[in-house]
Amino acid sequence: MDNIIVVKDLVKKFKEVTAVNGISFEVPRGEVFAFLGPNGAGKSTTIKMLTTILDKTSGHITLNGFDPEKNREDVRKSFGIVFQDHSLDDDLTAYENMEFHAALYNVTTANNVRQHRIEEMMKFVELWDRKDSMVKTFSGGMKRRLEIARGLLHHPKILFLDEPTLGLDPQTRNHVWEYLKEINKNENMTIFFTTHYMEEAEKIADKISVIDHGDIIATGTAEDLKKQTSTETLEDAFLALTGKNIRENEATGLDGLRSDSKMWRRH
């Protein structure tokens, strides 16, 4: 089986801080892969390097056969992504957000292929009847579903989801995973996701890697991890692997931005 993601000795340093400390792993094509770790463990930084948003300090990455720094556009065409934070344009309608994405990813307009694909994906996440509503009128769950539909629009080979179900109610979470499992099966699309919900990782993922302090400390199926730590649940296994201390996240400039954003929001 070929590996759609190959990471070898990957390092990312921000000045003195080492966010990712020489990790290596592979993800086979078509697999659902969960990346678990406490806050600040290096999950998001790794996803950012895989998705060309950040440049690595050293090491090797191959994604769908391409190098994210040398073949940026080939890599970008290969994946879809649902970011941890909101990334829709609130001042455009749901349909316009989809159209925007389709234009950026050059989904062809010939024979109405683009319109059909947008319709198909919006129906898939059950938002077609709200296509002309402004995104700012959507609930958190609806926005998430739209982001997923958008991420799938250009038939990516791999979908990255950074805590896709954070802050969603159990119904919506269940829904979201049903969609994703379906696409994973039907199109053999690889899914790479991070989450803090252990039962989610256990239920959905074929394989789990646990990362902490920038190092991968365990990899395997949920069963493997439980066996390895002689624990009953994945949550206990996770705590056994990463310890029970609460992580203090250092606030970044962007966090300040977010707290300002409420004040500045123009609607």
Partner: protein, 262 residues
């Protein structure tokens, strides 16, 4: 290097990315009626307060009609403000996460930046046109109606130039903390030291030097000259300076935009 990228992405398929970003800017402008109306308050106030307030003094000094002198300056004031803030809007996109959607798209960043910048410049030009009509309402009359089109070439160049300045600032800035700084040390001096409000003759040399290095000066002169036939420099000088500075700032803007890591 940038030229090679432009050449590489010259195909129609990739220009549609620039187009969709342009469309987004224009759509959002068109939809926010409060923004359109709100941003007309300041030029309106300047036209009224300065235009009528100083009008009689200006006339006594035998300089002619002050409103006629002032109107081009106020048109460019609103272009300066709108363009700069269109550029700075990148910070809002950083803040609300939308920027990432464009940064991971399989499109050269320069296309993204060009689309945005052209969109911002278009919006600023429309804003300038509205202020132009407003000035007409208060009695401003261009000498030659056929020159209005040429005047708006200058307006558009200025719009492009200051949107690029906004892009450069926003690419380097992570939050709005420095916003007041930009307002007080960049926008206001650029406006006041541009000959928008007063003629350049008889100024102290140090002020004159500042004014000569301010690109807005040439935009003001270009628009004022084409609308009222009074040039401080020459239309060719104005155009050449604006074109060159705009090109340099566009290149700088795309360079800094390229460097954004989210």
């Amino acid at each position: 290097m940038v030229y090679v990228q432009i050449a590489k992405c010259g195909g129609v398929t990739k220009m549609q990315a620039a187009y969709i970003l342009w469309l987004r800017q224009v759509k959002k402008y068109y939809r926010s009626k409060s923004r359109v109306i709100g941003s007309l308050g300041q030029p309106l106030l300047f036209l009224l307060a300065f235009g009528f307030g100083f009008g009689s003094i200006y006339q006594k000094a035998e300089n002619g009609n002050y409103l006629e002198f002032l109107a081009p300056g106020i048109i460019l004031m609103s272009v300066l403000f709108t363009a700069l803030f269109s550029g700075i809007e990148i910070i809002w996109d950083k803040q609300f996460g939308f920027l990432k959607e464009t940064l991971v798209a399989p499109v050269p960043r320069i296309n993204i930046m060009l689309g945005r910048t052209l969109g911002g410049a278009t919006v600023a030009t429309i804003q300038g046109a509205i202020v132009f009509l407003l000035a007409m309402l208060f009695g401003f009359r261009p000498q030659n109606i056929s020159m209005v089109f040429i005047a708006f070439v200058f307006v558009f160049l200025a719009a492009l130039l200051f949107t690029s300045v906004g892009t450069i600032i926003a690419s380097k800035m992570d939050d709005m903390q420095g916003f007041q700084l930009i307002m007080n040390f960049l926008v206001m001096p650029t406006f006041f030291l541009s000959g928008a409000l007063f003629p350049l003759s008889g100024l102290p040399p140090i002020m004159k030097t500042f004014i000569q290095f301010n690109p807005l000066t040439y935009a003001v002169d270009g628009v004022r000259g084409t609308l009222t036939n009074v040039f401080a420099f020459s239309p060719l000088t104005d155009f050449a300076v604006l074109a060159v500075v705009t090109c340099i700032l566009l290149l700088l803007g795309s360079y800094f935009f390229e460097k954004i890591q989210a």
